[in-house]
């Protein structure tokens, strides 16, 4: 096995195009994420109440917020969430923060819209296990919810409005204001020299080929284990995850098998790029990744306990 390990030597000639030290250039592959514009606040507010309400599950035991904790990282620290009826879910639960900026949803990218993903999670026997008509009946019997639906949609609760309200709320779960976004916006003091070095490595080593765009990923599919196995073989092709708030969302990978950021960086480089990184390179890239933590409602996103 040792003979297969490639000595990765970063030659001066392989250095990334110079990154300005004072501010980002115009052609950076990553764009800052903007605060959401809440076009329909009544629908979003109703969506938040629904998001936090355990009546959306079959046995009233869990809400969306149970696995997507909005007070911390938009997920949990579990490798895999407990499944309804026992055991655990198949894959690690991704954060809900900035999910609206992904081109597809879930690890395998099986959903095109927040609406489709929300409905599938509610009706999945292992996740929420409910039926939409049953939830609608529960909500219609609650005068407060009936009132809120009437205000937001002009009629009593129904399945379409319920899903629309959840999706409207999820579109507000954007986390702008990371230090890296500030640097992209021209604040030269936002990153330390080590973090800038990490960003240069992130680009020159090739991480940025998949993790680019406004969500630093989330806009293409990719096979994992290009050169060496990365994690559990299924699903074979994944929607590339966003790296926003990545320092707060351990454990990593679709199977939750990487416990910390350094391990995730090291394993990704070896599996996807055939590169065995030196300790210092891993630390520099991890330092850069820690600058991607944004804020939600004015507070920095933080790891789940």
């Amino acid at each position: 096995m040792a003979a297969l390990v490639i000595l990765f030597l970063l030659s001066p000639s392989f250095a990334a195009p110079p990154v300005p030290t004072s501010a980002a250039g115009d052609d950076e592959p990553i764009a800052p994420i903007q605060a959401p514009v809440v076009a329909e606040p009544l629908k979003a507010a109703l969506g938040e109440r629904l998001f936090r309400d355990p009546r959306l599950s079959r046995d009233n035991s869990r809400s969306c917020n149970t696995c997507h904790d909005l007070d911390t990282n938009g997920a949990t620290s579990n490798v895999r969430e407990p499944a309804l009826g026992g055991g655990t879910l198949t894959l690690n639960t991704p954060t809900v923060f900035n999910a609206a900026a992904n081109f597809r949803l879930n690890w395998a990218g099986g959903f095109r819209s927040l609406e489709a993903q929300a409905a599938a999670s509610i009706e999945s026997p292992r996740t929420m296990g409910a039926r939409l008509p049953e939830i609608v009946a529960k909500l219609a019997a609650d005068p407060a919810f009936a009132h809120d639906f009437e205000e937001a949609y002009g009629h009593e609760p129904d399945a379409t409005s319920l899903i629309d309200a959840l999706a409207s709320f999820e579109r507000t779960l954007i986390t702008p204001g990371s230090r890296f976004d500030r640097w992209l916006g021209g604040d030269a003091t936002a990153l330390s020299p080590e973090e800038l070095k990490g960003y240069r490595l992130f680009k020159s080593l090739g991480c940025v080929s998949c993790h680019q765009g406004v969500n630093i990923g989330g806009n293409l599919f990719q096979r994992h284990g290009i050169f060496h196995p990365l994690a559990s073989p299924e699903p074979e092709i994944l929607r590339v995850p966003s790296l926003r708030n990545v320092a707060t969302t351990a454990p990593y990978f679709h199977d939750g098998s990487a416990a910390d950021l350094g391990e995730a960086v090291e394993r990704m480089a070896y599996a996807q790029l055939n590169a065995s990184l030196e300790r210092e390179q891993v630390e520099d890239i991890a330092a850069f990744l820690r600058t991607l933590t944004g804020t939600f409602r004015g507070r920095p996103v933080r790891p789940a306990p």
């Binding site: 490639i6 000595l7 990765f8 030659s11 020159s204 090739g206 080929s209 790029l273």
Partner: protein, 231 residues
Amino acid sequence: VKIAQIVVATALALMLLTWLVQRSTSSQSGTAQLAINALDRMSTAEGALHRDLLRARAGILNNYDPLVAEVNATRDGIPRLRALVQGDPAVGAAVDRLAATIDLQEESTERIKSSNALLRNSLAYFRLFSAQLTASSHDLELARRIGGLTAAMLHLTLDTAPDVIDEVDQELRAISPESVSPEGLSPKDLSPEDAATVRALLAHAGLLRRLLPAIDHALKALFALPVQQQQ
């Protein structure tokens, strides 16, 4: 197959155009104008998609968000068209056919995006490792063979014809330490450092040998899709 596709596409285009002409001279001219507007937007988005896929292949588009927006813009036109042609089954079938072609276009776009991301990296690593071996190795025979592989790979970036792929295969066999061919290098001929770098070089070269023709093929197939004809 291509001729059949074009014949079908032309027939569908004629059907849609006939429908639009009929509607534009009738009381439903507003509907026809809305359909023309939807087709215009789809056509503009498709043109931008083709341009940006070529920019991505050339390495001057470093962010795939525009591709996502352009794919979405082409897809968004379909429900609008469906709503407008309700009640006309023949034209509805033409819209279904257009939707199926747009699905194919999206599948090809996703394959190109994924492959192109890998391609950019392997080109960079191939350059790194070939430069390292050429500069640091004291083995002149190894340096000569690396030069041959580099030239063949450069040729493949310009032309992915079968004879050029054969040229790359020949150079790969010549340099492979595990090669069973009589002209291959023997592992004992290489220092441990050079052997490790050669393996890294070959891993990326193998990927490039597969990806360069695959992306060319996918781009040509996508540009040949009869989306415009079906509009």
